[in-house]
């Protein structure tokens, strides 16, 4: 990072709090790499007045270079916003100014002035599209010094959900665990031991008909403190997916993926889990998962017992036994 980049202004702008925090952390890290002696100060715009800023800008006697992070510019009072705008426009300080703003209507005029003054804008808008989230995961893997296959990217998103903070943490951890290159097997292995996914492993084992393994997974999940409701949901999801796969008949996973609106790797997994399930058994299974869904919401005295009996009934239904 050259000297010209250690002066100037940056604006992390958008409604995603994680991306704003990430942007400012990156800028601070880059500035520290460029100049390990840089002095970094952070203030929150809410509750600050122009005096605070003047104090910070005035402390330039000893430090070689400085970075001032002003967080949450949307919360700034009118006076403080004015002071910030002037600081950005004047450019006569030997400092790097980093602002964050949530992109909302408040203090929009400040954004415009900062833009006009030539600040670098970092887009921190919430990711709403599936592809954007996939790209985010890929970049997180690269950021952690690794790489990731397309199937693994989809698998992480599927397992973790849309929360960027969790996606970032999971991807970073996986790069570390897998030693750089993440494949879909790494994701599966990693999530087998994680709370968010243990409900799915209970469902998976129940669907393939392995009673001892399913009960073990269930006890383990409950011991880990996984909410009974989540496990019941996972059972329902598993049965539904198997029912959908069976109901459309055999076929190429890629064709089925399109018909069912599921990623191909999930279809493949569901096809494995659906093996041996007859249509009548699936009808019974739909009743079992609906009952346990009500049971864990207070109908049954013991949610743990209700889950265990649902697992037993599912396997019995698959084997054509009484449910």
């Amino acid at each position: 990072m050259g000297a010209e980049q250690s002066v100037g202004a940056h604006l992390a702008l958008g409604d995603d709090e994680f991306l704003r925090a990430r942007s400012s952390a990156d800028l601070i890290a880059a500035a520290r790499t460029a100049d390990p002696s840089i002095e970094v100060q952070e203030i929150s715009a809410s509750g600050s007045d122009p005096g605070h800023l003047a104090d910070m800008l005035g402390l330039s006697l000893f430090a070689q270079s400085r970075l001032v992070l002003i967080d949450g510019a949307q919360e700034a009072t009118k006076d403080f916003a004015e002071a910030v705008a002037q600081a950005v426009e004047s450019r006569d300080h030997d400092l790097l100014l980093v602002l964050t703003h949530n992109g909302g209507a408040r203090n929009k005029a400040l954004i415009e002035r900062v833009k006009r003054a030539g600040a670098t804008i970092h887009d921190c808008a919430k990711l709403t599209r599936h592809e954007d989230r996939l790209r985010f995961i890929r970049r997180e893997a690269e950021r952690a010094g690794g790489s990731i296959s397309a199937a693994a990217t989809a698998a992480i998103l599927d397992a973790v959900g849309n929360d960027l903070r969790e996606l970032s943490a999971a991807t970073g951890q996986l790069v570390f665990d897998a030693g750089g290159q993440i494949d879909v097997e790494d994701v599966a292995r990693y999530y087998r031991g994680r709370a968010e996914i243990t409900g799915f492993s209970v469902a998976e084992r129940a669907l393939v008909g392995d009673l001892p393994a399913a009960l073990e997974a269930l006890r383990w999940a409950l011991d880990q403190g996984v909410a009974a409701v989540l496990i019941a949901d996972a059972l329902a999801d598993g049965v539904r997916t198997a029912a959908r796969v069976v109901s459309v008949g055999r076929g190429d996973p890629y064709d089925l993926a399109r018909t069912l609106g599921l990623p191909p790797w999930k279809v493949k997994r569901a096809q494995q889990q659906a093996r041996g399930w007859r249509v009548t058994a699936l009808h019974q299974a739909l009743q079992i998962v609906a009952k346990v869904n009500a049971d864990v919401k207070g109908v049954a005295a013991s949610a743990d017992y209700a889950l265990e009996s649902a697992v037993r009934h599912l396997i019995s239904a698959k084997d054509g036994g009484p449910v």
Partner: protein, 387 residues
């Protein structure tokens, strides 16, 4: 033309209410209106409020009558809790309203449209006011008759009860034509298809997409010939409820958001806001969004429930047809041919277990079972024999 004209098909209740309005000396300060969904509980309560405020006991012409019916009378407060539950703070506020001196009207009236949605603590706050009513205060509570237990016994026992009945199709058709200007043929069809629900009849008469949704729902029983069809039917029910809730929310939300902008200015930075005004606007916006979200959830549930009521009607009609009960009223008289065909493949016992499956699904939804899970279990149980 009196305030009672739009209280559809409720002769007995109207007699009681009209008499009470004429004899203020023996006034009861708390009333509980119950009746099946769509029977017009809140319409009856508003009409009664107008009759109380009117010098002539509900002429339907004077200012008091008009403003009460239009919801703008200064001494009539109508509360329709949009949240799933009505909190204690809201109720305290209401109790204060009820004890305020009437500003010009004869009574200070508070109408609570969904008294069954009061939380326990809120009900206790209300109970105090009902036990020692302010001299000119009148509380009119409305609740569905399906679950009278939803209104605590302590409150119920202090209220005079008015129970409404399911209005006849003829009475509904009459009001659709007269009040809403709906074509008589359409009014006759909609009122016969609405299972005694006045608002539903109006919605069916006016809204093409509501008619299409109803048709799609009523086509479900005969379509359930495979596992795939069962899953598709559950999808269809969920999707159409979501769409209906979304379109109704959009209309209500945009009106409210406009009101918010009038109050606070666009972006919450309108003129006349003092220091901290923007913060107040943001707070009000947040509160509004919270209410809108919880209303959207409720609209979705209501739409789903309506589809289930329609579906239950199909199986009930099969039972009626199989019993050859000639004079029994069909839930879906316009679908007689479809019902006859369905009755061909469903024995009475089979129709009954399917009716039970629909009712069990409604109960499951009340227990907060995930809609998709409850509906898939239901459509699976509804599949046709030998499929």
């Amino acid at each position: 033309m009196s305030v009672w004209t739009d209280v559809v098909g409720q002769t007995e209740a109207v007699d009681v209410l009209a008499e009470a309005a004429h004899d203020p000396a023996s006034m009861t300060h708390a009333w509980l209106f119950t009746g099946p969904p769509g029977s017009g509980r809140s319409v009856a309560a508003r009409a009664f409020a107008a009759a109380l405020q009117c010098e002539q006991g509900g002429c339907g012409q004077c200012r008091a009558c008009h403003t009460t019916l239009a919801g703008t009378h200064a001494d009539v407060t109508v509360v329709a809790p949009e949240g799933l539950s009505f909190g204690v703070n809201d109720t305290r506020e209401l109790v204060r309203t009820g004890s305020r001196k009437a500003s010009g009207g004869r009574w200070q009236i508070v109408i609570i449209e969904d008294a069954d949605r009061l939380t326990e603590r809120a009900a206790n706050a209300l109970l105090k006011a009902i036990e020692e009513p302010p001299p000119r205060g009148v509380f009119l509570l409305c609740a569905p008759s399906l679950h009278p237990d939803d209104v605590p016994i302590t409150i119920r026992s202090r209220c005079r009860a008015v129970s409404l009945t399911t209005p006849s199709p003829a009475a509904i058709a009459e009001v659709l034509v007269r009040r809403d200007g709906i074509d008589p043929a359409m009014a006759a069809w909609a009122s016969s298809a609405a299972q005694g629900h006045v608002g539903r009849a109006r919605h069916l008469a006016r809204d093409e997409s509501a008619r299409l949704t109803r048709k799609a729902v009523l086509d479900i029983p005969a379509s359930l010939t495979s596992l795939a069809a069962c899953l598709a039917a559950a999808d269809e029910l969920i999707l159409s409820a979501e769409e209906e809730a979304k379109s109704r929310s959009a209309v209500l939300d945009s009106a409210e958001t406009q009101d918010w902008q009038l109050a606070y200015g666009a972006g919450g930075q309108g003129p006349g806001l003092g220091r901290g005004g923007a913060r107040g606007a943001a707070g009000a916006m947040k509160e509004l969004e919270r209410r809108q979200k919880s209303r959207a959830t409720r609209l979705n549930r209501d739409a789903l429930d309506r589809s289930l009521v329609d579906l239950a009607g199909c199986y009930r009609d099969v039972l009626v047809v199989r019993a050859r009960a000639a004079d029994a009223q069909l839930a879906h008289p316009d679908r007689r041919a479809d019902t006859a065909r369905l009755a061909g493949s469903l024995e009475p016992g089979a129709a009954l277990t399917r009716l039970e499956a629909v009712l069990a699904c409604r109960e499951a939804l009340e227990l907060n079972v995930k809609p998709r899970v409850a509906l898939e279990a239901m459509t699976s149980r509804l599949r046709l024999p030998n499929s």
